[in-house]
Each structure stands twice: as C-alpha cells, then as structure tokens.
Subunit: 312 residues, 4 copies
Amino acid sequence: MQALLDARGVYPIALTPFLDDGAIDFASIDCLSEFYLRAGSTGVTVLGQLGEAPKLDAGESVAVAQRFIRAFGTVPVIVGVTAPGFAAMRALAREAMALGAAGVMIAPPNTLRTDDQIAGYYAQAAQAIGGEVPFVIQDYPLTFSVQMTPAVIRRIVGDNPSCVMLKHEDWPGLEKISTLRGFERDGSMRHLSILCGNGGLFLDFECERGADGAMTGYAFPDMLCDVVRLQRDGQRDAAHDLFDAHLPLLRYEQQPGVGLGVRKHVLQRRGLIASAAQRAPKAALSDATRAEVEYLLARLARHDIRAALPPL
Amino acid sequence: MQALLDARGVYPIALTPFLDDGAIDFASIDCLSEFYLRAGSTGVTVLGQLGEAPKLDAGESVAVAQRFIRAFGTVPVIVGVTAPGFAAMRALAREAMALGAAGVMIAPPNTLRTDDQIAGYYAQAAQAIGGEVPFVIQDYPLTFSVQMTPAVIRRIVGDNPSCVMLKHEDWPGLEKISTLRGFERDGSMRHLSILCGNGGLFLDFECERGADGAMTGYAFPDMLCDVVRLQRDGQRDAAHDLFDAHLPLLRYEQQPGVGLGVRKHVLQRRGLIASAAQRAPKAALSDATRAEVEYLLARLARHDIRAALPPL
Amino acid sequence: MQALLDARGVYPIALTPFLDDGAIDFASIDCLSEFYLRAGSTGVTVLGQLGEAPKLDAGESVAVAQRFIRAFGTVPVIVGVTAPGFAAMRALAREAMALGAAGVMIAPPNTLRTDDQIAGYYAQAAQAIGGEVPFVIQDYPLTFSVQMTPAVIRRIVGDNPSCVMLKHEDWPGLEKISTLRGFERDGSMRHLSILCGNGGLFLDFECERGADGAMTGYAFPDMLCDVVRLQRDGQRDAAHDLFDAHLPLLRYEQQPGVGLGVRKHVLQRRGLIASAAQRAPKAALSDATRAEVEYLLARLARHDIRAALPPL
Amino acid sequence: MQALLDARGVYPIALTPFLDDGAIDFASIDCLSEFYLRAGSTGVTVLGQLGEAPKLDAGESVAVAQRFIRAFGTVPVIVGVTAPGFAAMRALAREAMALGAAGVMIAPPNTLRTDDQIAGYYAQAAQAIGGEVPFVIQDYPLTFSVQMTPAVIRRIVGDNPSCVMLKHEDWPGLEKISTLRGFERDGSMRHLSILCGNGGLFLDFECERGADGAMTGYAFPDMLCDVVRLQRDGQRDAAHDLFDAHLPLLRYEQQPGVGLGVRKHVLQRRGLIASAAQRAPKAALSDATRAEVEYLLARLARHDIRAALPPL
C-alpha cells in the first residue's frame, strides 16, 4: 500500500507488443521492460488503454501482466483492471495481485454522470476487488467522458483506504492538482500519489503544481524521467528546455487514435519492439504520418541525442 | 444460419437468476427455461443487458450459456457476446457455438458515431468471431447511444452474409421497420429477421409494420406470444385488447434501471426464480415500488388470469 | 412567487401553432388557449421544447408569449427562456415578466456534467434574470443529457429563493419525487411545486408519490386534469381506469420527434389549430402513422367520448 | 462567394472585448481590428465560440459584427451565426450580410449523430439563410461532439453551392486534410478553402497537408501569419523553428475553458484590449496560471521579440 501512496518519478504506460500475426510478443515485453527500467522508471503500468487492454481476452491479460511483473522484479507494476463489470474486474485484480502486482488501476465506465454515481462506483469497485488491493483512480475525461471534480476525488479517497494514487489526466488539469494538494494541506484529504498522464502535454508545469511525476506512454520515457528529476532538483529552466525540445513530437503523439501507432512506430525505430503491429480496431499510419515523425525525430536529435536514429 | 434468418415469434431476453449470495442459480435457469418454452417462445436470448451479462466473468458467462442451451434443447438460443474488444468477443462466441448456440448478439460500443465507424465495427466483429457464426445486430440507441440509420443497417446486412437478425429497439422505431421492409421489397437489401425489444412498448404496431416478433424481457412472455400470434392470424382488435391490458405494467417495467428489479420481482412472485437478487451495480426496489407493482398486477388480473397471484 | 410555489393541477405545455407557410398563427393561439382553459388547466407553459421555441427568433418569442399571456388573463403563464447564453435568457425573461408572465422555465445546457456545474449554472441564471423572477427547473435528462440528483435539486432550491417549481421529467422518476418530498418532510428543503412532464407516461403514480400535477403536452389535457382531480379526491381506481384508457395513445405521442407531429395532428383533428405545420427541422407524419393515430383515437373513443372525432 | 472560396492566410478568431462591468468595449474592437490587420491577417472571424458569441443577446451580436466589419474595411469578415434554431440563424445572417460581411460560419448542434442528420442539417441551414449567403462549416468535434467524416463534408460541399470554406479543427485532423484535398484531385469534390483552428496546435503540418492557412485565436496571430507565409515560400525548417518557439505557449492557450482567459490576459498585456473581463460563465485565472503565462512569455521572448512585454 505504502509503496504506491508515496510513489514518485515516472511510471510508463506500457505498450503491449504484438507480432505481425497479432500474437502477443513476449520477448519484446522483456526488451521493453529492460528499456523502461534503464530509462529510470520507478514503476510501470500495464494493460492500460495504450496497452490495448480491451483487445486481449481474459487469459491473455493475465499472461501479459505476469510477464511484465517478472521482468520488473522488485519495481512496482500497476495492472489496469478496468472492465465492464465487477466480476471480471475482481478476477483480473486478484490474479494480478497473486502474481506480484503492486496495485491496480480502474477507469470509470463512460455512463457515469453524477457525483454520487462516481463515488458509488469506486466504492463498489474497491469492495469487489477486496479492500487490501491498492488501486489507482484513472481520471481521463477526454477518453472516458466522466468528469470528476476535486471534491469527488476527495470523497473517493476518504471512502476507500485502498485508494493510493491518482492517474491525473483531466484537461485542463493544472488547477486540479493545486486544489487537491490544497486539500492535503488544509487537512480535508489524506495524501495520495499523483502521477500525470494526458500524454505528458503539461508535465512541465504539473511537476510545479505538486504532481509526483508522470504516468504516460510517450516514446521517450527517458526525457520524462529527466524532466521530473530536474524539476525536483530545482532546475526549472533546464527542465523546461528539455521538455520544450520534445514538445513538437510529444504533441504529435498525443493525437487520439494516431498516437498509439506513432508510439509503436518510434519504439520499433528505437529497436525496442519487434513489430509495430496493433490489434483491430486500429488506425494504420499513412506514409505522410511516417514522414512527419521522421522529420520530428530528426529535429529532436539536434537537442537530444537519444532521438538520433538511423534512417528508415 | 437459416433458422435465425427466418425466425418468427418471441425470443425472451432471459434473466440470469442469482441466489441471495450472488452465486448463479442454475436450478432457476432450468425452471425459467421451462417456463419460457411453455409460454410459447420460439427461441431465447441469453447474456443480454437484462441478463446482467457484464456482471459475469468469462467462465460464468460460458456456464450460464451452456445451462440455457441444454435446457432449450432444439429450440434456438442466441448468446450475447458484446465485449469491450474482439478477442473476448471471439472467445465467448466460439465457446457458445461449440456448446450448441444458434447464433450470437452484438451491441455496438457507445463510442461509435459515424456511419463508417458503425459499419466498420460490425465488419471487424463478424471477421473476429468467424464468418460462419450467425449474428444479430442490437440496435438500441437509448442504452448504447449509437444511432444506426436504415441505410447503415442495410450496409451491415450487405457486407456480412452472417448477419441474420435485427434486434430492433430504436425509439421511435416504427418507420424504421417500414423502411427496412421497403428495402427488401425494392431489392436493395436481402431478408433478415426483425425481432423487437424496447420492452415491448410498441409491439402492437411493430407486428403490423412487418416485424417478425419480439425479443424482450417483459415478465409475461405468454402475452407477447399471444399478441404476435393474434396479429399473425389477422385478429387485430383482439391483439390490441390484450396488449392494452398489459400496457400499464409493461410501461412500468420499461423504466431504465428499475425495470430489471421489477421483472425479477414479478418472476419470483410467479414462482419462476428462487430469488430476485441482482449483482451490483443494482437498484433495489423500494416499498412504494413493490406496492405499485402489486396494484398493477391486481388490475391486470381482471383482464388476464395469468396475473392473478397470491398476495405478498 | 407564491402562486407558482403552490401551483397544483395541470399546466399544459402549449404548442406554437404555425400557418402552412411557417408564419405564426396567432388566431390559433387564442383558440388553443381557450381550449386549455376550458379543459380545466390551472396554468400553462409556453415556449418549451414542444412549443418549438428554438425555432423562433427573438422577436417572435416575445410575440408568442404576449399573445398567450393576454389570452390566459389571470391564469398563470410560464415562459420558457432556455437560451445558449445568459444575455439572451435575461432579455426574454425580462420582457416576458413585463408582459405579465408568472415566471420562467430554464433547462440546463447539455454540456453540464458535475453537481457543481449544475448548481453553478442555476445560480448564474437566477442572477442573470434577476432574483425577483420566479423560475422553474426543467429536469429532463432524456432530452438534455443532464442528470440532476435529488441532492442537486435541493441545492438549487436552497441557493435560489426565486426557484419555485420543478418540471419533473426524469425517467425513471417516481423515487425522485418521493425523495424530494422526503426532503421537505425532514426539513432539509423548503417546499416547491412539482409538476410532471415526460409526456405524462407515469402521471397515474406520480400523483400518488406527491407530485402536484402535470406539465406536459398530451393532446387530451382534459384527461390529465381529470386524473389529477380524481387522485386528489381519493378516487384511485377511477383515476387509473381513465389513465389506462388513454395510455395507448399517450405512449404513442411520447415518441421523441414523432410526438410533436402526432400532437399537432390530433389537435388539428380536434379543430383547435388551423394547421399541423411545424417549422424545420421537423419529422413529417407518414400515412402509416396517421392511420395508427386514427386507430388509437377510435379505440379511445370507446372509453372517452372526447376522442370521438369525425373520420378523416 | 469567390473571395472566401479562394481564401488563404490567417483569419484570426476575434475576441469580443468587454469592459469590467460586462458591457461591450467597442473602442477595443477597433484597436484589436487594427492589430489583427497589422499582423498580416487576410480576414477575420467574429462571434465564434472564442468570441463569447452565445453570451451576447441578439442586438449585441449585430452591434459587434457591425463594428468589426467597419474596422476591417475591405478585408473579409466572417460572422458566426450558430444558433439553436434556423429563425435566429437566418435573422443574424441576413443582418450581417446587409452590413457587409463576407460570409457566415455555422457549427452543428451537438445532438447530430448520423451522416444523414449532419448533411440534412447543413442543407436546411443553407436554405434558411438563403442560397446566396456564403457559409463556412465549423468542424470541431472536441467542442461540438459531432463527427463529420471526409465523405460527409464532401456531401455538404456537393449539396450546397454556397458552402465556401471549412474551418477544420478535427483532432486528429491531418489525414482529413489530405483526404479532402485528394477528393479535389480525383474530381469527386470541388475546391473550397480550408483554414485550420484547434488553437493552431498542428498548424506546422496542416500547411504541408494542403490547408490554406489558419483560423484561430492564438494571442500571437503575427506568428501564425509568418508560419503560413514561410510554408508557402518553401521555407519549411524556418516555419517549424518559429512554430516550435511558440508551441509551449500555444499549447498552454489551447486548454479548453482556460484558453479564453489566457488569451484575453495576453492581449491585455500586449495593450490591445482594455480589460480581460469575460462574461459569465467564465473561468477566472488563478495567480499560478498568470505566473505560468508570464514565464512562458519570458521564455518565448528569447526567440520572438514580439513576446517581450514589460513586467506585470
């Protein structure tokens, strides 16, 4: 419980690598995990949206989680267990915890509207998976169409001792971080870890507002780690300089739908996964998109040597 | 394939009975199946929304489908396989077919908007489950927020030889039936079976517009069977008289959320399931609601002896 | 203020009659008003959704409101002032009040999600129109996609002394009425009038749950008045008998989109408006629909002589 | 008609300046117009979302449009006429054209779903305002929740000779531009101007995909003009260098809700409007936000002297 409550740094949202025929590519999971660790990640989240979790069947989900957990060793792994119902959520959560997961992540179903519905949903989910399983709230209105106010998040945190972290990806969201940290200061909410998603698009300022770090799938997690570290060390300008150099590509990856393909493409270009294949439904990259990514990588390489890749 | 293409009559949407502790009540599945058959059902659909399908885990879904299939014998069973992704959909569809299901039912994810997205989704789903598996389109915008025009349905039917039936529950929907049957008459769409849901709220006229029958969970499927039969036999006034006598209760059951509880309560009152328990999330019936249902049943019993139940 | 706070009975939602060329038919407004009054209405609401309010320009809205207000004399007229912004809302509200309206009705914009957004919106609206203008909350999630819990309604009532009435049309909504009346009994909310919309589909039970009456556009407001009166007089069975006789037609009218055309058609058939014309966007009635309405009217006439009309 | 069909360059989305008491600040309209022109704008769009159009009443809308039209002289002014109904849309469109507007912009109501609904809506709107009034499609799914495929846009263009321009702000949207220009090349769609919104977040690549320029409210329209010009002149790297220098601030402004406040703040800081006041509903800028904007401006000033402002 405590490990995630105090989590800081960067938890990449892991891709799920597939072979060209759509089968899970377990070897690439190992390779990718090693890369995430080497980049300085303090944890990882698997089976998220970016990890194409809804495209796996029940057995595959367990197998992917298991492989990542093994590869990450003692570094915490959070497993996405979002499901259309509590029975499936509970089944995956309990299997993941038995395999050594540090906690689970739960996104709300996109039918929730009122504050009571949202708070009620998380209370039922926490009960379904068991009160001893640490869980992360995923607050991503752009994708899930569920709007949680800071007061609702406080209510969830208050109601559920096993709620340990917020994956913050509201947009706009900077004031939300300030408000939540204010709740901690005024004693109306206990502490929880806040890691930011939303593609990292505001990570530069999120750190300054009180976030503990990032949880997102940008293809250069090494940069995310550096920015969080620089901000922690008080090197504000250096943090922004590095972040700004990546912003053109980071923004490009943040496009809904397209982003996953771009990330798989870049990670394949970086030699970290064998294939950029996605399972259906998927959006294939056009030639124009590939060319734009190459252009962005080339421009980025002027600032960050890690982006210097051999030509296609 | 042909059995569902030519389906007529009433396919109840089966409840999934639970014991008070939330476990699946397999004995009540048998009892319920016998009741549905005795009422004159020509088929049944299991693991729909009303069947609390999203609340079951993968193994439970198979077990429930299997029990119904065994109980129904040679009478066709359609299995709901709606899932957040194609891998899980494929897994359940193939298991269901191996167990003897006649076909599967697929609702669209509530993120689909454009005509192309909807047609593309069904093409991918049909490919995922296999072209030899007959499938039913569930067209229920009120619940799924996806609006399919008649032209889009025609496109799905044209694209997918394995599309055999429409579960029609658009609202309003009478013109839609007329338009689709018009497409058959003008040769622009091949025939498929149309069974109507939406709680049966317009079944009286749906039959007259060209629907083949009903697929819904009203607690008196015996009435649905009679109305469809009377309409087929040309006894229009008699069909409406019977339908109208049930309309006050039928409308009451049709309330979103509340309806499931009312139906389980009435079926328990009729001695067909051991418990009215639902799995979470659920809406418990208030005392006022129970009293209103009793009042409606008592009024109904003046017209239809089947509603005459011993007092609570 | 007090007149609406204590309102009981039936406030029809008035149609806006047009001539065949789309011009406003002021003569029919007079005729319609006389009919509503003769039917026993205790008030009326104009410029609602059913009144095609969004299809009028600013000047036309004032003219329509003025004509109804003159025709209703001392009987209260509520004017719908829902608008995309507060300036336009304020302008119409103030003109309507100056003309003698009893109050205004405000529906929430369909972008509101959280409890805070909804309560904040009504506070801003009340301020915009002026604290001395009595207003009605329109709670119609099916059309406006905004879900207000009873607690949010209580908050609006508590925040705004000028909030005098709830147009209740949540679905399902019976428990909501019971909960709100419970708030009054436990002293956590002051009294306000509750008139029910939603086409009248649950008026039979809404009266029993504590509603003060109906505010809806069913083409036989005379029946609505009788049901409310019978329920008030304790003649429960008689109230349900009358309601049930109308339910097949009432349900038919309650179809979104189609309903407006059916109501205009029936009112034209009853000789109360010169033309059933609607402004665009509109859904024309098919021949099949007209024939179904005739059939329903003929069946209804067996129970209620008011539905006996000369053949088309 | 032809002027907008062939439009290129930058049409800023104009703010509507208010005084601190909420009254329209006509003097600042003149000042702002002069600034937009001096920056190199080839046109302007007024009464858009960013222009707080829904917060004006009917008379104010005309007055604002009139002032901008006078200030812009012979440079084309597009007037947003989006309205809840066609009568109000027609009234404003005709007044604007009479005052000298070059055309009008129409966003779809957020209830539209199917392709037919969208195409039908624009056909009705075009008829309502009159076939001689040039109109712009606003394609902004993030705000309006309406998804138009390229094929639907082609259909609107084909159906309506008066459709002259697309305000493109789908997200992602690069492929959409390529597809639409492909339609022109393959002869299936006639030419229309494409100006890009969405805050300018992808303007760098949008120009390369075939867009004619920008229509957005970024507080440095001078930069937008330069980027469009550089891209037209084939100076790709220079265009990206300039764009990238602005991207951190541009991204910051692109936050829904917050963006308007930031833009008004920056324009006030640049001395172009007297007050940053907004009408309700509004989101006030926090001190933290102001400080972040100052930091971004200071960093930007290292690359672009136009951002060098005296300290707050």
